[in-house]
Amino acid sequence: MGAQEVSMKYWEDIESGQVFQTGSITIDAADIIEFATEFDPQPYHLDPAVAEESIFGGHCASGWQVCALMMRLLADTLERDHIPSRGSPGVQSLRWLRPVFAGDSLHAGITVTALQQAECASDPGRVQVSIDVLNQKDQSVIVLDTELLIEHRPAGAGK
């Protein structure tokens, strides 16, 4: 039995109500401009001066960059906790609640809301989660409900 096997967390090891706290990521103006230049070239993401006058009231990240940063926090957490994931079939709902400004630092709480076993043993199990991404003032910037596909414990794998 390898050391890696012992530390793995499978679908069977996850409980409803469990909360995973992610690490944190800080985003600066250069990150915002880099993402926006490639994917969301609108003035309030590209130009700090114009951004002051916009609906957002400051130089802020593309909402899709915030989603991508959430993904990074999630992926790093799954890796940290040795949870083998096969990705996600989608997101039931997501709301952008507050802009993320240059210099903001983000972290997230991932709460397990439901678990569903796969019908076929070789398929991953389903884990419903609510994810709350917060800034350094602990204000929610996005909230979402999504489903993660997590491997079942292989037959014979030690606990």
């Binding site: 993402f35 490639e38 994917f39 969301d40 070239p41 609108q42 003035p43 309030y44 114009v50 006058e53 916009s54 609906i55 957002f56 593309s62 909402g63 899709w64 960059q65 989603c67 991508a68 940063l69 993904m71 990074r72 992926a75 790093d76 890796e79 994931s85 096969r86 990705g87 996600s88 079939p89 989608g90 997101v91 039931q92 709902s93 997501l94 709301r95 952008w96």
Partner: protein
Amino acid sequence: MSETFFRTRWFEDIPVGEFHVFGNHTFGEKEIIEFGKKYAPQAMHVDVDAAREGPTQGLVASGWHVCAVWMKLMVTYMERYATGVRDGRRNGAGIGFRNMRWIKAVRPGHNVTYTYEIIEKPEKVIRGKWGIIRSRNEGYNQYGELVFSFEIDILAERKPLVAGE
């Protein structure tokens, strides 16, 4: 016919049922890996060899990458009609989405065509001046298969009431 100002229309002037095929994009291996390394560092997005041996049987683009390209093409498309508009003030800010489904893998070399249809204008006024435009957005690969779909709510400014109206 008057010129279309896609981004300067008032909420009231945007019709339910409007449909656009607004762009397409071929996903390259390099960009899939680059996006994956930054935002979704999992074997299926960043490691060609490991991905081939894994459940996806090859490299696949992150679902968020497919979304980011949706945004890129949408902005490009809107800008084409946004003569003279510098800040996209009258519409553009997204407040949320529902039913995001990543249905089929997007692999290196796949070309995704993106479509946009306005499906609803919920009767809700936000901060006294914004209405909500709800659209269904879809992506189809080069085989005509639906690969991704979602419904997004975007704010559009309502026509100001003129005194005496």
